[in-house]
């Protein structure tokens, strides 16, 4: 997934703090990132569901697209409506390729006089090159001097708003500039856990200080990549490289809600022919939730068979769901087998294990609408 390099992994501005907090550092998307802290993945997962967890997501790419023509130009690369994205609002979308597959998923925020875009760490170089070659000369600039913090969980509002009162007034998918400890930050009410929460873009030279202040709140504790993955999996949120990639379309991935009516009708984005056809006729395969009947986790790559033993798809993400209290998987199955309640088998270590297609998410989203 993404580019790997023989050189030493890069460090985010919070690297030393992760080590101080006992983070177990692992290479991820070219960065040394904490997979968990001494409390462990399950405790960090539950911390996020019950109170608030702080994740360092500074490895993700932060980009500014300037110019009045930015939103219209960006519409040539993504199937979502950008010209109608109001100031202070954020929208989830994908870069599509000519075959209708997904090049990456991203969040675009209308920051008033520019668009603020966050892309995946592993795809940052590809995405920036893609935007540079398709958007106006000089319109794009990468914010390489910013860190990104995610504070997620039902207590996130209390944690963040004690330092930036504006945060409490935001609804889900809204964004604002704010000062935290005197530093210019951007606070957006969104995330990747299924919980209420924020992502906060901060100056890298203030990142440690701001993180310490957030962690000083009694309801907030650090969490690593392990909990981030189990939280997003239970929330049914796609991971680029696992659940969505250059082959899968947004319709197959069941994120066609990100394509607004005008864009469905007009097209004008890469791969529109396939995507419009799948919207009209239905895709051949769909991403579904899968609940194994037993206790064995079914992880990425596990083959999915129907009741007669015929191969109908593969698991794209799977593992143990701490809030579910058992194994959870998501994967693609033939459209005819995608109805919740359909009995399927997961071939784990050569043995077909019974499972059932279920509606996503596994854990209800808890967004502040």
């Amino acid at each position: 997934m993404g580019q790997t390099s023989d050189s030493a992994p890069k460090r985010t501005p919070l690297y030393a703090l992760h080590e101080e907090l006992g983070g177990k550092m692992v290479p991820f998307a070219g960065y040394a990132m904490p997979v968990n802290y001494p409390g462990g993945i399950i405790a960090e997962h539950k911390q996020c569901r019950e109170k608030a967890a702080l994740f360092d997501v500074s490895h993700m790419g932060q980009v500014v697209l300037s110019g009045a023509g930015g939103p219209a130009a960006l519409e040539a690369l993504v199937p979502s409506a950008m010209t109608t994205l109001k100031p202070g609002k954020a929208r989830y979308t994908v870069f599509t390729n000519e075959a209708g597959g997904i090049m990456d998923d991203l969040i675009v925020s209308n920051a008033g006089d520019h668009l603020f875009i966050v892309v995946n760490a592993s795809m940052r170089d590809q995405d920036i090159a893609h935007m540079r070659s398709n958007l106006a000369e000089g319109a794009l600039s990468e914010l390489s001097d910013r860190a990104l913090l995610a504070v997620q969980g039902p207590a996130a509002e209390g944690v963040v708003s004690q330092m930036a009162p504006e945060a409490a007034a935001l609804s889900f998918m809204e964004t604002t500039e704010a000062r935290i400890l005197g530093a210019d930050c951007r606070i957006s009410r969104l995330g990747y856990t299924g919980e209420d929460g924020y992502e906060i873009s901060v100056p890298e030279d203030r990142a440690v200080e701001i993180t310490r202040a957030l962690l000083a709140h009694e309801d907030c504790a650090p969490a690593g990549l392990g909990a981030r993955d189990s939280l997003r999996l239970e929330a049914g949120l796609c991971l680029y490289g696992n659940d969505i990639d250059a082959e899968t379309s947004p319709v197959e991935a069941q994120i066609q809600w990100l394509i607004q009516k005008r864009r469905r009708e007009e097209g004008g984005f890469p791969g529109a022919a396939r995507i419009q056809r799948e919207l009209a006729e239905g895709p051949a395969r769909k991403l579904v939730g899968i609940a194994p009947e037993g206790r064995a986790p079914a992880r990425q790559g596990v083959e999915i068979t129907d009741q007669e033993g015929r191969a109908i798809g593969r698991v794209t993400s799977g593992g143990f769901g701490p809030s579910v209290g058992g194994p959870v998987s998501i994967g693609y199955v033939a459209a005819a087998e995608a109805v919740p309640g359909t009995k399927i088998n997961l071939v784990v270590r050569g043995k077909p294990l019974p499972a059932e297609v279920v509606a996503l998410p596994f854990v209800q989203h808890n967004y502040k609408r």
Partner: protein, 121 residues
Amino acid sequence: MSIYFTEDHEWVKVEGETATLGITAHAAEQLGEIVFVELKEAGESFEKGDEIGVIESVKAASEIYAPAAGEIVEANGSLGDTPGALNEDPEGAAWLYKIKLSDAGELEELMDAEAYKASIG
């Protein structure tokens, strides 16, 4: 009574005719929180190096390999319901198997406690 250790981070404690097999505290620590254990049943026999079970943590799946040829006398069935016990007491109550060894001499190739400790640094 002798205790041996394998490169796969398992321990084997020999007591007379039978041996007890488990994973080391280091292995449990590295795996992280264990959420699933699948063991073979009593009566099954195996060769040295055979896969005789699976342990899964929140992070990954890890196979259990037979340290020597033998037969399963008893599997620790309680681990199916309480896999987390492997994080609590992997070198004690959360043993995996009681086994009857075909040739106890095979264990001589394994590490003793001192060598194992050195191997994990």
